[in-house]
Symmetry: C2
Subunit: 198 residues, 2 copies
Amino acid sequence: MSKELVFGHQNPDTDAIVAAKAFSYLQNKLGYDTEAVALGNPNPETNFVLNYFDEPTPRVIKTASNEVDSVMLVDHNEFQQSVSDIKDVTITHVVDHHRISNFQTEQPLFYRAEPLGCCSTVIVKMFDENKIEIPAQLAGLMLSAIISDTLLLKSPTTTDQDKIAVKTLAEIADIDYEKYGIEMLKAGTNVAAKSDQE
Amino acid sequence: MSKELVFGHQNPDTDAIVAAKAFSYLQNKLGYDTEAVALGNPNPETNFVLNYFDEPTPRVIKTASNEVDSVMLVDHNEFQQSVSDIKDVTITHVVDHHRISNFQTEQPLFYRAEPLGCCSTVIVKMFDENKIEIPAQLAGLMLSAIISDTLLLKSPTTTDQDKIAVKTLAEIADIDYEKYGIEMLKAGTNVAAKSDQE
Ligand SMILES: [Mn+2]
Ligand SMILES: [Mn+2]
Ligand SMILES: [Mn+2]
Ligand SMILES: [Mn+2]
């Protein structure tokens, strides 16, 4: 199995960064050789999350075809949101929760999308289907991604499955997701930073 | 939940006809209101299968938007292979095993594709994930679809998962799939019909 890169969309948000890490972890457990990377630097919210869980920032790439022949996409599919040389690599897997547009492949592939509030929620289901355990640190990251995409389960895109996933992940990560979620969303709006300056 | 039509590609083969029936059965068990239809008449092989399992021929439709707002696609995705007015309906689900091309949606949707030898093999996995039992008659139909697409597990597109699915389905349907498979493939090549005329 040759190495593959796993990444979310350009201008990554927390789900784009975390879903890449979660799917890469799962795929490596299933025998693949993957590295989770990113197409841009983490935003303030994601930096808060990575620091909180003592998780390294993913390596940022500009192109993929100089390193690998095949890639796996998470949290996006549209070519204009993907890596600049997406047309020069083979897409073997996509896990997403968006509409499909400006996307095509030459070969059959693994494509898993569900109309849920967060890509990480789809990945939680895939861990369960494959009977692979989610480690506590990764559970905390995935919990953060769902809180981020659904604005602490308040946004209209939130589904029951997102709510169930948040509860399950909070238990694994042993976190009070209401308290943590507010802190995390605040870090994302730079409110914390501003108030320090006032 | 408003009614949805489920169908395979134009000039349907056994997998296109059977995957529609299997996915419609599964989705109805999960609370949807769907009817499996077809975009053309069954070919000789599929007629052999439907007769063998005493299964009705699906209703054939020319257009969908006169009947429903939403549809579910199986065993295809490319618009030029789908119903003629595919652009006038909302695609809520796709289950397939082909490459993706000339396909797009306005809204997020459920999309499940895996590079396996048969669409029905993907659906067997979905029955398992949703802990829904496959009735014997449907198991026989799905077994036939996998035998058809993989030429009795001999074609290069055959995967281990197709082999496992065939064994599982053969047990449920209580069928010797080697013996049955040869008879079925023969029916498809009209050899049987020709030899009667000689
Ligand atoms: Mn995102
Ligand atoms: Mn997302
Ligand atoms: Mn087909
Ligand atoms: Mn097929």
